[in-house]
Each structure stands twice: as structure tokens, then as C-alpha cells.
């Protein structure tokens, strides 16, 4: 009887060790995947700011306020889908948010991926009048 209990205990320890290792390995893979997606999200954010926000200038930024849109990072024939969310607000010369209109607008783009609830990348640009 004692031998059986000891054998059972040993099996439990080995199984627990294997499961812990499996979970650790999955965490590493998840981190690798997230870092890869962050690099792509960064490319998406920078391109959106340069191609969409900068050309419209100070006055045109209003159209981006609270705008949400889907976009893709495409490599050859593969695409990864992301969601962009824009925030536009007035800031003063010190960069603090202002409730009244100023000559500087801060445009922030947050890029999300369906695997995560928080944005992978947030990019902010100040655009003056």
C-alpha cells in the first residue's frame, strides 16, 4: 500500500511538471506571436498617420474623431487583419488636453488585433494649424 501511494505521488509530480512546462512553452509562443503582431501593427499605425492624417492637415482631422476602421498588413499573398481606432483632441502648447479649441491637435491611432483586448500599438502625432 505505501509503495502504491508513493508511486501515485511520483506520477502526480511528473504530470504536474509536464503540465507546467507545457503552459510555459505556450506562454513563450504567445509572447513571440504578440511581438510579431506588434511589429506589424506599428507598420499599420505609421502608414495610417502618414497617408491619412498628415495630408488632410489640421482642419481635416475632425473626420477621424472616434473613427474605427479595419485594415490589413499584407505580405505577398498573406494578410493580417487589424482594427484602427482614432482619437483627435485639442492640446495646448505644453501638450496638455484642452477643452477649448487651440492651434494644435493631437491625433492618436490605436491598433488592435482580434486576439487581444488592449491595443498593440498607439501612435500619437501633433499637427498644428
Amino acid at each position: 500500500m505505501p509503495q502504491s501511494l508513493l508511486a501515485f505521488l511520483a506520477m502526480m509530480i511528473a504530470t504536474s511538471s509536464a503540465l507546467t512546462q507545457f503552459a510555459a512553452s505556450n506562454r513563450v509562443r504567445e509572447e513571440m506571436m504578440k511581438s510579431e503582431l506588434e511589429i506589424m501593427a506599428n507598420a499599420v499605425a505609421l502608414e495610417a498617420v502618414e497617408l491619412q492624417a498628415v495630408p488632410v492637415g489640421f482642419d481635416g482631422l475632425t473626420q477621424f474623431s472616434r473613427l474605427k476602421e479595419n485594415t490589413y498588413f499584407t505580405v505577398e499573398n498573406r494578410s493580417e487583419s487589424f482594427r484602427k481606432e482614432w482619437t483627435v483632441k485639442y492640446v495646448d502648447s505644453s501638450g496638455n488636453e484642452s477643452q477649448s479649441p487651440t492651434d494644435i491637435r493631437e491625433v492618436t491611432i490605436s491598433v488592435y488585433h482580434s486576439r487581444y483586448t488592449r491595443p498593440l500599438v498607439e501612435h500619437t502625432r501633433l499637427i498644428g494649424q
Binding site: 509503495q3 511520483a10 504530470t15 509536464a18 513563450v28 511589429i39 502608414e47 502618414e50 505580405v75
Partner: protein
């Protein structure tokens, strides 16, 4: 008889435990090796990306004539930038001619397909001066107009989009969870808008 059964059962338990522990250990080792290789590769890739980002922003800096700022991109059938050159003046006003050139290095097998690899070499005033990792699978430079339309004419370009894919530098890539890293950026070099 009881003693014999005890021996047999203890041997079976020992064997099962040993197998579980060996498998766990091997998996841990494999994960650790993959993590190290991926980290090293990503570090190399991001260092190259950082250099590209900082230098491409300077395109045309201090140059008056638009036609002298950059040359048309020489591409292969897949759209890879075999050669891309541009000019800018450094802080002291010295003209710098830079060329990024894709040079074949090796090939790798991913999903049972043989894929050629390249090194993106950087030349500064005609002399080799740094570059990227030797495992670049794809390096693309594209000119965009202000509206985001692709153009081949460097005279019309206001933005430059750079994307590249690099593979891991070692190991059987089919065994890796993520055998490649993709990086991209779209820049608006200040002087192209003038």
C-alpha cells in the same frame, strides 16, 4: 510471487516517470533554443530596421534638385528592391550617396519550398558600410504619392514605404513556430515634400 509483482510494477512506474520527465526536459530545451534564436534574429532585424528608418528620413536633406535626391528603384520579378540609392547632406554639409543593394547569400526550406535568401548591403559613397542580416527573404522599397498611390517615378514620390521579411538564421525552419519576421514602415522624408 508478491515480490516479483512489486518489482515489475515499480519498474513500470519508473519507466513511465522517466519517459514523462525526459519528454518534458526535451520540450523545455527545444522551446528555450527556439526562443533564443528568435530573439537573436529579431534583434538583428530591428537594428537594421532602425538604421533604415533613421536614414531614409534624411533622403534629400540639403539637396536642392529633386532629381538628385533619389534614383529609380531597380527591382526583380518579385518586386524586391535589388538596388535603391539616394543622397543627402550630413550635418557638416558633406554630400552622402547611399545605396542599399540586395546580394544573394543562401537558401532555406520553408514548407518544403526552397527560398533564396539575401543580404541587404549598404554602400556609403561607394564603400561598403554596414547593412542588414544575411537572411532577408524579401526587401521592398516603394514610392508613394501624397495620396498613397504607388509610383515608379522618384520625382513624384512624397513617401517611401519599406517592407522586408527576414528568416531565422539557423535550424530547420519547418520546426519553428514562427520562422520569419515581417517589418514595415511608411516614411515621409521632409525634403521630398518641398
Amino acid at each position: 510471487m508478491i515480490s516479483l509483482l512489486d518489482h515489475i510494477s515499480s519498474t513500470m512506474v519508473y519507466g513511465a516517470l522517466a519517459l514523462v520527465l525526459i519528454a518534458t526536459q526535451l520540450r523545455a530545451q527545444e522551446t528555450s533554443i527556439q526562443q533564443t534564436i528568435v530573439y537573436a534574429s529579431k534583434k538583428q532585424t530591428l537594428e537594421f530596421a532602425d538604421m533604415v528608418e533613421r536614414e531614409f528620413k534624411l533622403i534629400g536633406s540639403g539637396i536642392d534638385a529633386r532629381a538628385d535626391m533619389m534614383q529609380a528603384i531597380e527591382t526583380d520579378e518579385q518586386g524586391n528592391a535589388l538596388s535603391f540609392s539616394f543622397r543627402y547632406d550630413d550635418d557638416a554639409g558633406t554630400p552622402i550617396q547611399v545605396e542599399y543593394r540586395m546580394v544573394p547569400t543562401d537558401s532555406v526550406t520553408i514548407n518544403r519550398r526552397s527560398i533564396p535568401l539575401y543580404e541587404v548591403q549598404r554602400f556609403r559613397n561607394g564603400t561598403r558600410d554596414g547593412g542588414g542580416p544575411r537572411t532577408v527573404r524579401r526587401f521592398r522599397v516603394q514610392f508613394l504619392t501624397d495620396s498613397g498611390t504607388l509610383t515608379a517615378d522618384p520625382g513624384e514620390a512624397e513617401l517611401v514605404r519599406v517592407t522586408f521579411t527576414s528568416t531565422l538564421p539557423m535550424g530547420d525552419l519547418d520546426d519553428f513556430f514562427l520562422p520569419e519576421t515581417n517589418w514595415g514602415i511608411t516614411l515621409r522624408p521632409m525634403n521630398l515634400a518641398i
